[in-house]
Amino acid sequence: MASTKFILARKKGMTQFFREDGTVVPVTVLEAGPCTVTDLRTTERDAYTAVQLGFVPARENGKHVNKPQLKSFEKNGTKAFRVLREFRVDDLEGFEVGGELTADLFEIGDMVDVTANSKGRGFAGTIKRHGFSRGPETHGSRNVRAPGSIGQCAYPGRVFKGQRMPGHFGAKRITVKNSIVEGVHADLGLILVRGGVPGPPNGLVQVVTAKTGVKK
């Protein structure tokens, strides 16, 4: 297997466990795989190399998959999946269409980057979105959650670009880098990753070997 490991997973929630010395390890439980290799991108055909993984089998009634996708699945002789994601690899060796990736790919101590879409918070104010301070709520204050001053006066006479203001917050692709795999339960198809993971429970998550960072 190539040095870079990757898999698609679902975030199930958080819990904790104790180490031998009594310290607590906070972990996020991810239901990883099983993923099927549904296609390969090759230099000859696509001018780059990548592995396409399918996750979550689609329903038979064709609700989840459109016709062009279905034909692609048929051509490669795999089942139809709801979720398809590509992962760039340098070397396609060890991957074949129809192959399966499961949670036991990972082992305890692996450092991984976890990517997911964060929870959408809608149109959020500056306190929630940028961590601004709140004003006093009493003593006649009318500046409770207002953003405050957004600049100076006649000079520069404009608001600087990048000024942090209210706006749409969340529902954005977030990568948590260098999380440590603290547990692998292949029988349950679960991996436990130290710390938090973006997104809601049951959200789709990509787990990839960390790009930077040293294995402890």
Partner: protein
């Protein structure tokens, strides 16, 4: 079953000492002294359970030199090696959390 509960089960103690609120217990707690480990007992009355699953805790109250001392232990923590019931209450407590004991001294604080 909920998958989180299932995961917690894997890390929980298979059997925990059985004791109830209002029991007087001796908690055997492993502490580290330099590079040696020894058991430090803590004797007192259980006044509450908190949390659930692997995060379940219990609080033990005792009077040390006239001052009330409470310690909360994780039930599934590996440092809590044993909990021995020394004495049960004379009558069943009517509530799950015996906070009212904090306001009582001497005989009225006994159950």
């Amino acid at each position: 079953m909920d998958i989180i509960q299932e995961v917690e089960k894997l890390y929980m103690k298979e059997e925990t000492a059985s004791f109830k609120v209002a029991d007087v217990v001796k908690v055997e707690y492993l502490i580290r002294e330099g590079d040696k480990e020894r058991i430090q007992p803590f004797v007192g009355q259980v006044i509450r359970f908190g949390g659930s699953g692997i995060r379940k805790t219990f609080t033990v109250r005792r009077i040390v030199q006239g001052e009330g001392v409470e310690r909360t232990f994780p039930l599934h923590g590996p440092r809590v090696t044993n909990v021995i019931v020394q004495r049960g209450p004379t009558k069943k407590p009517r509530r799950a959390r015996l906070y009212y004991l904090r306001d009582r001294v001497g005989k009225s604080a006994s159950l």
